[in-house]
């Protein structure tokens, strides 16, 4: 039996390899996503435990003898509140309700940051929405993976039927046949899934190292056995079902019919032009290889367009919500003397391309509501610099409100405001000229003002913002100022580097996914188109034998590729529109972003598909052309 299976594999090497590759690809992607999800989940859990602890609920209670409550795993006292950890995190709400019936409870505070990571936070928060987004992406990928594997196998189906018919006709029983198919399925799935898993392990290690280096975080490899088991079982069952499809279908068909199995054809309308007529007929075959090619194209167009959209969303988030300081270094000297000023000025003029020194103070104030056009915070951080009685009437920031992320860019205040600072009343007019270095502090909770006699209000420090390409600035500065001055040095360049890395990493990650989906799509198209062309060798031989010239063939291929791509584009358009609507509404729940249309990427990928199909078909035809007509007609095997 094993010899027969191995022999069969070698006889149909090309198709077997293509089928195996499709299993490896699918396994690799599913395992990669599972492993990445596990690693990120573990990291987020650790961060949540670090920040808030791993308790489930915090209650102010007179709970005594908690040992009697068997569902409680752990209990800690924090001042007058108790931090409870249950045995089963998923029953946290139910158990807390139960508990509070027996003991007096007040100020119940659930550890949402921790609970949401198990998907059980009552609040509609970011993570929940992210979860839905991941589910959409996973669903798209899973459906595509199923199609990729089945797609390739469909092309082998006719041969499989003939093989089953032949084996039965020479005496193989159904039981033996079932065993043979099971064996085949096990070999393909074990090989494919194991190789796919190994590749995904290598890929995840590389990915984690890259993310850790770029983000300066510490994600570690995590093997969630449960997820992996589900993924393995899912893939194994899928392959098993696919390999058994011909067996179940063949049971109902007689041996002879199986042996003579061919595609069934329907009567179709005629066209005047013979080439269009032949192309149309080829395309309209009911069980043709073209369905597989069309499905491959649909997967390619849908995946590429969707991930193009995710890429654009990612880029917009980066452009709008990640802000870079305009300077490289911020130096604050806790002294406002001429000497300090001169030293800073001399230092900056020698070492920077752009700089500004300010006399600055920072304090907190209560602000009168009458200053606001509508409403605003009562307390503000006040930044004061030397200037001409003005304030910057602009808040340009990212805020989270009701679990949605907003980019704010609005004027809160009236054109003229009145502030009381250190018992002095200041009348200020609005200004739109943001002083160099202060761009990033302009948020809803901060207010920047300039007054022409800062010493009347506070004892200012000297703050220098400078742009510089010099290295070791801090060292140079400290050696210049020596021990005479107290100073604070903020290396904004380092922060910029990290932000740049984050931006680069996100872009690289998104582009990598796009490239990966592109490659998967292209390889699926190539394999199905190639196989379908190779299985038409006999047809091409026949047509050549009765007079179809090379030019006619090229025209036929062009028309066929138009039919195929047209149909694929039509199906893809419906799917792409659906994904566009769902994704836009999911993202809209969380973040305030401009909506993206998928029409442009859809049209581009459709055009690329058309060109690709035409090239593949022409290349396959060129290969076939080299073979003599008789070999084409009489040698069916590819």
């Amino acid at each position: 039996m094993l010899k027969l299976i191995i022999r069969n594999f070698y006889e149909n090497k090309k198709t077997s390899i293509v089928f195996l590759l499709s299993i490896i690809f699918s396994s690799m992607l599913i395992f990669l996503i599972t492993l990445l999800f596990s690693a990120v989940h573990k990291y987020l859990l650790n961060e949540a435990i670090k920040n808030t602890g791993d308790y489930h609920v915090k209650i102010k209670t007179d709970l005594k003898n908690y040992e009697n409550f068997s569902v409680i795993k752990n209990i800690k006292w924090q001042d007058d509140k108790v931090l409870i950890t249950y045995d089963n995190i998923y029953d946290v709400y139910k158990l807390t309700d139960k508990l509070c019936k027996k003991a007096k409870c007040a100020e119940i505070e659930y550890n949402d940051a921790y609970l949401s990571l198990y998907g059980i936070s009552k609040n509609e928060n970011l993570l929940n929405t992210l979860k839905y987004l991941i589910i959409i992406v996973l669903a798209i990928i899973l459906i595509c993976m199923v199609f990729i594997i089945y797609n390739v196998y469909k092309i082998l189906l006719i041969n499989k039927y003939k093989q089953i018919g032949l084996l039965q006709s020479i005496g193989m029983t159904l039981k033996e046949l079932r065993f043979m198919l099971l064996f085949e399925a096990i070999i393909f799935s074990l090989l494919g899934i194991v190789v796919g898993f190994i590749i995904s392990l290598l890929a995840i290690l590389v990915l984690i190292t890259f993310i850790n280096n770029s983000f300066k975080i510490d994600i570690s490899f995590a093997l969630n056995i449960k997820f992996l088991f589900y993924a393995f079982v899912f893939l194994f069952l899928l392959i098993l079902i696919i390999c058994f499809i011909p067996f179940f279908k063949a049971k109902k068909i007689s041996n002879l019919k199986l042996l003579n199995m061919n595609y069934t054809y329907k009567k179709n309308k005629s066209f005047k032009n013979i080439i269009i007529f032949l192309s149309y007929l080829n395309y309209k075959r009911s069980k043709s290889h073209y369905k597989s090619v069309i499905i491959s194209l649909v997967i390619f167009i849908v995946l590429s367009s969707s991930f193009n959209m995710f890429l654009k969303y990612g880029e917009e988030v980066i452009n709008n919500y990640v802000s870079m300081p305009s300077y490289d270094a911020e130096i604050t000297v806790l002294e406002n003397t001429d000497e300090a000023y001169k030293l800073l000025d001399s230092f900056a003029s020698k070492n920077s391309s752009k700089y500004k020194i300010y006399e600055t103070c920072k304090t907190k104030i209560n602000i009168n509501r009458e200053n606001y056009v509508d409403k605003g915070p009562n307390n503000l951080n006040l930044y004061i610099i030397e200037g001409n009685n003005y304030f910057i009437n602009e808040a340009n920031t990212v805020i989270t409100k009701d679990n949605r992320i907003y980019k704010e860019n609005k004027s809160y205040f009236k054109k003229e405001i009145s502030l009381k600072v250190n018992n002095k009343t200041l009348s200020l007019k609005e200004s739109k000229n943001i002083p160099f270095g202060f761009e990033n502090i302009l948020t809803k909770d901060n207010l920047l003002i300039g007054i022409n006699n800062i010493n009347d209000i506070c004892t200012p420090n000297l703050t220098l913002f400078m742009k510089s390409d010099e290295v070791n600035l801090e060292k140079k500065l400290k050696s210049l100022l020596k021990e005479d001055f107290d100073l604070y040095y903020i290396n904004a360049k380092e922060g910029k580097k990290i932000i740049n890395n984050i931006i680069l990493s996100v872009k690289v990650f998104l582009y990598s996914i796009l490239v990966l989906t592109f490659l998967i799509g292209v390889s699926t198209i190539i394999s199905s188109a190639y196989l379908s062309m190779m299985y038409r060798k006999k047809e091409f031989g026949l047509l050549k034998s009765i007079g179809l010239t090379t030019k006619d063939f090229k025209d036929m291929i062009t028309v066929e590729s138009l039919y195929i791509t047209g149909k694929a584009s039509l199906y893809s358009l419906l799917l792409v529109l659906g994904i566009n609507v769902i994704t836009n509404s999911v993202i809209n729940e969380v973040i305030d972003l401009e909506h993206f249309s998928l029409i442009k990427p859809f049209l581009c990928t459709s055009l690329i598909s058309l060109i690709m199909i035409r090239i593949i078909m022409r290349m396959c035809y060129k290969r076939i052309e080299k073979t003599s007509i008789i070999n084409l007609i009489y040698n069916d095997n590819i």
Binding site: K267, N282, E539, K544, I546, T549, S628
Partner: protein, 225 residues
Amino acid sequence: MIKVKKLFKTYKQGVDIVVAVNNACLNIKKGEFVAIVGPSGSGKSTLLHLLAGLDKADSGEIIINNTDITKLNNEEMIIFRRENIGFIFQFYNLLPMLSVKENILLPALLSGKKTNAYEKIINDLNIKDKENYLPNDLSGGQQQRTAIGRALINNPKIILADEPTGNLDSINAKNIMKLFKHYNNLGQTIIIVTHDLRLAKMATRIITVKDGKIVKDVKNVKAHN
């Protein structure tokens, strides 16, 4: 009409090289009805394929109506075959997505020629009632007649048939041979390959092939008469 000079063709079979046609020389006149016979694997089908230009010889010449087809490239051969040769395969090899009518008319459509011959051919073949059927719905005899119709539609000077009755019962086989006889009487040159000597005796000339060589070439006087 057909001159074959020192024709040679070999195939690779695993590590061995098989000489399928070995130094064949032949002269076939216009209007002849030739049967090529020989045991299985003797090279008779290979010879026929070479005459039809469906395969390329290793060396030698095949001159059909003053054209050496061995010197033609693929495109030229396709066009030449379209206009001069009608080939009938043993396993019919009809295009499964075309109906009987479409299969028969296809060579005419491909050559761009208008033809009035369809009605006569389909009536002669006695498959008029099946003209809208697909090949999968036809019997072996009906499929073979369709294949014959396809070979005849362009009124070729030569008809080549490779085991045309190989998959048919004796009655259908005899009927097919009668058809060939009929078209031969109308002036068509016909060359068939067959392993059935009884059917071969309906031809006017019998060529015997063995191990790639022509070992016998006799006129069948009875058939003539």
